[in-house]
C-alpha cells in the first residue's frame, strides 16, 4: 500500500509496534491509542518521533495534552463509507491546532482524496497502486469550493464577499 505524503509517493519511516512487543531503542514508531494512554508521559518523552493510531470511535479531545509532541496521528477508515475520521481530522487540525503528520489509513480510495486533503490529511495510506499515481489529477479536479476548511482555499462565500466589497468601493 503506497504512502502518499504531501502529494508525493514516499517511504514510510514509521514502524508499527504491537501492544505486547518491545519498543525499539530508537527510530519513529507507531503505537496504539491504548498503549499511548497507558503511559503517555514516558512515551512522548522518548527521543524519537512518536505516532499513534487513533480509532474512529474515540474522542480526539483526549489527545489534546500530547498533540504538540506527537509526530503522527493515523486515523482509520474501516471502509470509506464510514466517515467518522473526517470529523476527527478537522477537529484535530482546525480546533486543536495539531500540526504533525495526519495520515488516513484503511480503505483510502482515489474518489475521496480531495475530501481527505480538504479535511487536513497530509498523508494517505492508499489502497491501490494506480490511485496513488492518480493523486495529482484527483486532487486538482476542483478549482472552487463552497466550504471553508483549514486547507487554505478561500470558500465561495469568502471570495464573493471580497468581490462585493471591491465592487462597492
Amino acid at each position: 500500500m503506497p504512502l502518499v505524503k504531501n502529494g508525493q509517493i514516499a517511504a514510510d519511516d514509521f514502524v508499527a509496534v504491537a501492544d505486547d512487543a518491545e519498543l525499539p531503542a530508537a527510530g519513529p514508531v507507531l503505537i496504539s491509542a491504548t498503549r499511548l494512554l497507558a503511559d503517555p508521559e514516558r512515551l512522548v518523552a522518548r527521543n524519537s518521533p512518536l505516532g499513534v493510531v487513533w480509532p474512529n470511535n474515540r474522542d480526539v479531545a483526549e489527545l489534546k495534552p500530547w498533540l504538540d509532541r506527537l509526530a503522527l496521528i493515523a486515523l482509520v477508515f474501516p471502509t470509506y463509507k464510514d466517515g467518522r475520521a473526517h470529523s476527527q481530522a478537522r477537529r484535530l487540525r482546525e480546533v486543536y491546532g495539531y500540526r504533525g503528520e495526519l495520515r488516513a489509513t484503511g480503505q483510502v480510495l482515489r474518489d475521496q482524496f480531495t475530501f481527505l486533503v480538504r479535511n487536513g490529511f497530509d498523508a494517505l495510506d492508499v489502497k491501490k497502486e494506480a490511485d496513488a499515481h492518480a493523486f495529482r489529477e484527483a486532487t486538482h479536479r476542483y478549482t472552487e469550493f463552497y466550504q471553508p476548511t483549514g486547507d487554505g482555499h478561500r470558500s465561495a462565500l469568502q471570495l464573493r464577499r471580497q468581490r462585493h466589497l471591491t465592487s462597492a468601493s
Binding site: 470509506y80 467518522r84 473526517h86 480510495l109 463552497y146 462565500l157 462585493h164
Partner: protein, 551 residues
C-alpha cells in the same frame, strides 16, 4: 430564481467531469460495483427493478422555463418521454442508460441543474415551501437561505459519508407547506424581539420504519450563525450516529436514544468549538446570494380585473379558480397550482410535451418561473389575475387543470412495485383507482381537504404516516396487503396517523377508503370540519367500526 455565478458554474461542470471519469472507470472495470455504488448514488443514480433511475435536484423547488425545457429534453432524449416529480423537489427518470448519464448531466449543467447528493448517505437536496417568496405573510424569502445551505452542503468534505441520508427543509411561513417536522433538520425563519432574523431549528424528524416528529433543538439561532450551528449538529451526528444497523442510523434515532436535551448539549459543545469561526456569515455574503435571485418586475394591476368578472359565468373555470388559485403577496397576482393528478393517471408524472408546454406558459404568464411542491404538483408562482381565464383554457387543453388540488384525488404516492426494487406492494395502481373513484369534482369539493398518501413499503417515500389517510403496502404470504392509518398530518401541527385495524388485500383498498370517506361525511359536525379534525375529535373507533363491520 437564483442565477449561478462563475463559481457555481465551475463546481457543477467539474462535478460532471468527475462523474464522467467515475463512470468510465466503472465501465472499464477499474472500479468494482461495490466501490462505485456510493459514488453513483451521490449523483442520483439508483439501480431499480428494470433499469437505472436518475434523480435530479430541483433545489427549493424553483425552476426557470429554460431549465424545465432542458428536463423535457432529457426525458425525450435519454428516457421514455416523461419524468416523475417526487415529494422532495426532485425529478426522476426511470429508464436511463448508465453510459448516457454523463452526457445528460452535462446538458443539465448548462442550465444550472445538477444531481449532486440526490441519494446516498449524505446531505440531500434542500427543500422549501413551494410558495416561497410569493406567499403573503412570510418573514422573508427562505430560498436565499436554502441556497446558502445548498451550497454549503454540496460536496461537503466532512459530511459526504454520514451514517445515513440527511434532509433539510425550510419555511418562512406560519403555515408549513414544506413538512419541516418530518425532516432531519427543519428550519423555520423567525424574527426575535430585537427584530433580528434567525431560525427555529428542529431536529430528528423522519418517517420510515420508526417515524418521529422533529423536536425543537434551539428556538432561535441568528441567521449569521446558522451554518456553524448546522455544522455542529452534523458533526455530532457524524461521530455518534449509529452505523451498526442501517435501520437505526438516521439522526432521529440518535436524538431519540440520547434524548433531546442531551443531544442539544452535545451540539452546544461542538458548536462552542466552531462558533465565530469562518462559517459565520456576514451581511455582504448574504447580500451577494440575495442579489443573484431574480424577482419579477410586477405591474400595478387591479385586484378584480374585468377578465375575471367576465369568466365568472363559466362553472368549470370557477371550480378550477376556487380550487387551484391562491392569494399572492402582490396585488393583482395569484399563485396557480397545476395538478399532476388527473383521474386515472400516475401521480406526479409529466410528459416531455407537458413540460415544454408549461415552460411556454410560464414564459407567457409567470415571468418564466415554475415551482415544484412536495405534493408532486407544479406551480406557476406569479400569474396576473387578468390572465387566469386564458391560462386556464391552455392548461385545460394540456390536462393540467384538474380542480383537485388538496382534495381526495390529489394523492401522493411512491413508485412502489411498478418500479422499485424495495417495494412490497404496488402504489401507483391504487392511486389511479382512487383517483377514478373520486373523479367527480363536485364530490371531491364536497369532501373538502383530504390528503391520501401511499407508500409501497415501510421506507415511507410516499409519507403515508403523515397522510390524513395513509396507505402502506405490506406483504402477507406473497400477496399485496395494505395497512390503513388515519389522522396523520405533515404541516405545522404534524402528527403520525393511527392504524385502524388489520391490513386489507389489494382488491379492497379502494372500497375501504370509500367507506372511511362516507363515515366522515356522515359524522362531521359541519361541512367545514376537515377530515383530520373529525378524526381528532372522534378518534379512530367510528371509522374502524364502519370499515370492519362488514369485512
Amino acid at each position: 430564481m437564483y442565477a449561478y455565478d462563475e463559481i457555481d458554474r465551475a463546481i457543477v461542470h467539474e462535478r460532471v467531469d468527475e462523474f464522467r471519469d467515475q463512470v468510465r472507470r466503472r465501465l472499464n472495470g477499474e472500479l468494482t460495483e461495490d466501490e462505485f455504488k456510493p459514488l453513483r448514488l451521490m449523483n442520483g443514480v439508483y439501480l431499480q427493478l428494470h433499469a437505472y433511475m436518475f434523480r435530479v435536484a430541483i433545489p427549493y423547488g424553483t425552476l426557470s422555463s429554460e431549465q424545465l425545457r432542458k428536463l423535457a429534453h432529457v426525458a425525450r432524449t435519454y428516457d421514455r418521454g416523461y419524468g416523475h416529480f417526487t415529494t422532495r423537489q426532485n425529478i426522476q427518470f426511470n429508464w436511463i442508460a448508465l453510459a448516457d448519464l454523463p452526457d445528460a448531466l452535462a446538458e443539465l449543467a448548462e442550465v444550472g441543474i445538477h444531481a449532486m447528493q440526490t441519494s446516498g448517505n449524505c446531505t440531500r437536496n434542500v427543500t422549501a415551501d413551494q410558495w416561497a417568496g410569493v406567499a403573503p405573510g412570510e418573514i422573508e424569502d427562505p430560498r436565499v437561505w436554502a441556497e446558502i445551505l445548498r451550497q454549503h452542503t454540496a460536496l461537503h468534505p466532512e459530511f459526504s459519508f454520514l451514517p445515513r441520508k440527511f434532509k433539510f427543509a425550510i419555511t418562512a411561513s406560519d403555515h408549513d407547506r414544506a413538512a419541516i417536522k418530518i425532516h432531519d433538520i427543519g428550519l423555520k425563519l423567525v424574527r426575535n424581539d430585537a427584530g433580528e432574523t434567525g431560525f427555529e431549528v428542529l431536529v430528528g424528524g423522519g418517517l420510515g420504519r420508526s417515524p418521529f416528529i422533529g423536536r425543537t433543538i434551539k428556538s432561535f439561532v441568528k441567521g449569521h450563525d446558522i451554518l456553524s450551528y448546522i455544522e455542529a449538529i452534523l458533526r455530532v451526528y457524524n461521530q455518534y450516529g449509529r452505523r451498526d444497523n442501517i435501520y437505526k442510523a438516521r439522526i432521529k434515532i440518535l436524538v431519540h436514544e440520547l434524548g433531546i436535551e442531551k443531544f442539544a448539549a452535545e451540539v452546544e459543545q461542538a458548536w462552542s468549538e466552531i462558533a465565530d469561526g469562518p462559517l459565520t456569515l456576514d451581511d455582504e455574503m448574504i447580500e451577494d446570494i440575495r442579489s443573484r435571485f431574480i424577482y419579477p418586475a410586477y405591474e400595478k394591476l387591479p385586484a378584480e380585473p374585468d377578465e375575471l368578472r367576465a369568466a365568472a359565468g363559466d362553472a368549470r373555470f370557477e371550480a378550477w379558480r376556487g380550487n387551484s388559485v391562491a392569494p399572492h403577496r402582490q396585488d393583482g397576482y395569484a399563485i396557480v397550482t397545476l395538478s399532476l393528478k388527473p383521474a386515472g393517471g400516475p401521480p406526479g408524472d409529466a410528459t416531455a410535451e407537458q413540460m415544454d408546454a408549461v415552460a411556454d406558459l410560464a414564459d407567457k404568464y409567470s415571468f418564466g418561473e415554475i415551482r415544484v411542491g412536495h405534493e408532486q404538483n407544479l406551480v406557476l408562482p406569479h400569474v396576473a389575475k387578468r390572465d387566469l381565464p386564458a391560462l386556464w383554457a391552455a392548461l385545460d387543453k394540456l390536462g393540467l387543470a384538474t380542480p383537485n388540488v388538496g382534495l381526495v384525488s390529489d394523492i401522493i404516492a411512491c413508485p412502489g412495485l411498478d418500479y422499485c426494487s424495495l417495494a412490497n406492494a404496488r402504489s401507483i395502481p391504487i392511486a389511479q383507482e382512487l383517483s377514478r373513484r373520486f373523479a367527480n369534482p363536485e364530490t371531491a369539493a364536497l369532501i373538502g381537504r383530504l390528503h391520501i398518501n401511499i407508500s409501497g413499503c415501510i421506507n415511507a417515500c410516499g409519507h403515508h404516516h403523515v397522510g390524513h389517510i395513509g396507505i402502506l403496502g405490506v406483504e402477507k404470504n406473497g400477496e399485496e396487503f395494505y395497512q390503513i392509518t388515519i389522522g396523520g398530518r405533515a404541516d405545522e401541527g404534524a402528527e403520525l396517523g393511527v392504524l385502524i385495524g388489520p391490513a386489507v388485500p389489494y382488491g379492497e383498498v379502494a372500497d375501504v377508503i370509500e367507506d372511511i370517506v362516507e363515515a366522515y361525511l356522515s359524522l362531521r359536525q359541519r361541512p367545514d370540519e376537515l377530515f383530520v379534525d373529525a378524526v381528532k375529535r372522534l378518534g379512530v373507533e367510528p371509522f374502524k367500526e364502519r370499515v370492519y363491520a362488514t369485512r
